[in-house]
Structure formats: C-alpha cells, structure tokens
Symmetry: C2
Subunit: 234 residues, 2 copies
Amino acid sequence: MLRYDDQVKMLVAVDCVVMGFDGQELKLLLIKRGFEPERNKWSLMGGFVRSDESFSRAANRILEELTGLTGIYLEQLHAYGNPDRDPVDRTISVAYFALIDITQYEKQLSNTYDAEWVSLSKVPSLIFDHNRMLRQARKEIKYKAANHPILFELLPEKFTLPQLQMLYEAIYEVEFDRRNFSRKVLSTRLLVKTDEKDKESSKKGAFYYRLDKEEYDNKFRAFLNIIPNPDKVI
Amino acid sequence: MLRYDDQVKMLVAVDCVVMGFDGQELKLLLIKRGFEPERNKWSLMGGFVRSDESFSRAANRILEELTGLTGIYLEQLHAYGNPDRDPVDRTISVAYFALIDITQYEKQLSNTYDAEWVSLSKVPSLIFDHNRMLRQARKEIKYKAANHPILFELLPEKFTLPQLQMLYEAIYEVEFDRRNFSRKVLSTRLLVKTDEKDKESSKKGAFYYRLDKEEYDNKFRAFLNIIPNPDKVI
DNA sequence: GCAAAAGTGTTCGGATTACACCCATGT
DNA sequence: ACATGGGTGTAATCCGAACACTTTTGC
C-alpha cells in the first residue's frame, strides 16, 4: 500500500458565516460553543470535516445540525491555516458564508437550537480567528454584491423595492437615491412586479416584486453595477 | 491535555498555479512530479504543509524549493477537499495562484530545476484535480484583472503600452482599441513614462513605462475598469 | 518615398446622476 | 386636507466607444 510518509496530518474544520436581514438591519448567526476549549464562548457555526465528506457537504451538514437550515446559499470564502489559530491542536478551517432570509427561519431557530441572531453592529468577541473570518466575509459580500445579485438570498420571496434598497443601504452603510435605485434594479429585468402591495410600512403601500428565477440564474454571474460610485463605497 | 477525540486528520497540501507572460503569450509553470503516485506526470507546483507553517509560508517555500523563485505575488484561490481527489490518502489542497515576469526567471529555471513553462493553449492533462485548479485560476485572474491592476506582476520593470495591451488581450482573448486602451491605462496615473524607447518591435519605437510604486500600492484594491464591455468578456 | 507601428484628438451615444413633480391613502 | 412615503419623468453631465489623423523611422 502506497503512503505519504513523514507528513503531518491536521484536523480540518468548516466554519460558516451566516448572515441575515430582518427588514431593518443585518444580523449574524452565532452559537454558544458546546465543547472545550472555549466552551460557552460565542462562535460561528463550525465543525469538523468527516472522512468521506467534501467541504461543501460538511458545511451543509454542520449548518443543518446546528440550526436546522437546509438548502441555503453557501459559498467558500477562504481557508485559514495559521499554526496557532487553534490552541489545542493543529486545525485548519475552510470558511463559508451564507445568506438567508431571517423571517423564514427566526422562530424555528430560537426554539430548537442554541443559535442566535446578533446585530452586526453588536457582534461580541468570537473564538479563535472567527472575528477575522467575519470581517473578510463582510468585505467579500460588499465586493460581490456590487456586481452580482447575491443579496436576493437575504430577502423573502416577495419583497418591495424600498425593502431591497434598505438592504443595500445596510450593506454599504450609505443612502441611495430612491428613484435611480429603482430604475437601475428594474432595468436588470430580474424582478417581476406582482399585484399585491405591502401596506405595513406606508400608507400608499409598495408593490411586491419577486425574482424572475430564470433571469436570475442567467445573470447570476453577470455584472450589474447596482451601487453608485462603487470605488468610493467599497 | 485537551484533545479533540474521534476526529479525522488529513494531509494538507498547497498547490500553486504559476502563470507568466513572455511578451507574446501566457504560459503556465509545470513540473514533473517526483514521487508516487503519478510520478513523472505533469503537476502544478505543490507540496505538503508542515506542522509549523501557515498556508502562504508553505506556498512560498514550495515555490522556492521547486523553482528558486522568491518574493512573488501569491494569492489564495480556493480550497479543494473532495474525498477522492487524491487516491492514496485523504488530502486536501489549498490552491494559490502566482503571476510572474517570465523573462526574469526563464534561464535560471531551465538549468537548475525540472520546472517548465508550457503555453496556456497547450496544457497537458495534469494529476488529480490540477486541471480544475488551473481553470478556476484563469477565471479568477480574468475576473480580478478587469478591476484591479494585478497584471503588472507579469511584466518586467520597464514595459511599453503595446506590451501591456498584448498582455490584456492574451488574458481576455479579444482585441482592444489601442487609443482607448492607452488613455484608460494612463488615466489611472499608475504609470510613469521614461525617456527610453523599445526599438525591438517597431521602427518608431514605443516608450517604456514603469509602475509608480506608491500609486500602485494605493490603488491595488481600487476599481479601475480597464476592460471594455466587461460583462461580454468575462 | 513608403510601409508599419506609435502617439494624440474629436465626436457621438448611452449611462449615471441630480433633481421635481405626481399619486395613493390613513389620519 | 394634509402628511407620508411610493412611483415616474427629465435635463445636465460624464464616461466609454468608435473613429481619423499625424509622427517617427527603417527599409
């Protein structure tokens, strides 16, 4: 039997930066770590990769085990491998980020699991290098969302243009012109207007839109340029 | 002593997609693998991560061991972890890509090492998932170079605008308008004109430019938009 | 003189921006 | 009726793309 001799083996973990939007602000899904070291400290959704698993399968499994969430948008972010990132044993971690619609999962979560949504402006100190992962994930999302329609993953199936704009404004921490924003978004042809209106947040009410799934799949990798003055914002 | 029990440990490798430009076309640096399995098959520059090494240190060390190259531009590309990607043992790989100026290293290489430059249009079948890594690296470079000035790593210290344009055209496999290209590039203020001319490739001769190092560091992460019609090309 | 490649200028059109006005509705 | 937020329109501007002409020099 062939073998690679004298090579060091390492533990391989996956950590997921799960972000959500509740209609007002961006939130991060955290969990109280259930084992030593750092038990009861705040942590991203993480776990070890099993012997027969790919990274993405591991990420999906871990997310489901910890939160019950399945079938959500996951993307590999970066691999972290500093020798001292885990004090117990040499552990490398492949970080993923996920974007989800909070409203769809909020109740389900708080009852069954130890996971909790935390406002992005109030994220506590996390274990290991998880704060660094979060920082990089936020940067990557900003970067990517400027050109690609990934943020729709954060919204419910039906959403209004003002809601969409609030989301973009939360990500980029700036305000956009309402009229130019709607024109730009609608010009992508990604959205389909429905007959219904959201009467919650205004008297007039705002029309609900939904994604044109086909167009969305087509243009997922296209350049959209939704953000004004991207080089000033990012 | 604290330990994580019952967790699988894996071998961790680093593989480098090293690309270069010889003034005419893009090339990839390959090596004949020196050990089993797949001995004497073509491979990217790869090796195992040591117990006290970060990924980027490992990548730099491996590149130096195999080619003698030091201090070159390296960027993490993606982590690959399919259970069956290495038939011998469960091995995950963190891929990096590197961009270098071929002319600076060409002779040095061919004498001392087994590494070889291969035209990107004639890349042979590589071991494991290395062809996939190459594909992803090419895509990432296209993507990134459309907005960021990373391609200067592929050129000698002094270069002409026609050379720079040839490089961009090689990457994107399209031809650009000479006049618009030079205006765009010069408007970035990244280049400094020198007094010298390259008289090799034309009768009139083209002025050499060099990078403004300070501006380059400042604008390395800026959006430059050098490529016309990026959504059609990428 | 002429061919070949480099360098500079101009025009046109579409996209982006800034801004004003109208609409629907609950109070 | 009026305040509030949603929807639509328009003029000014900027930037990118297309294109023409001049310059240099080896042959």
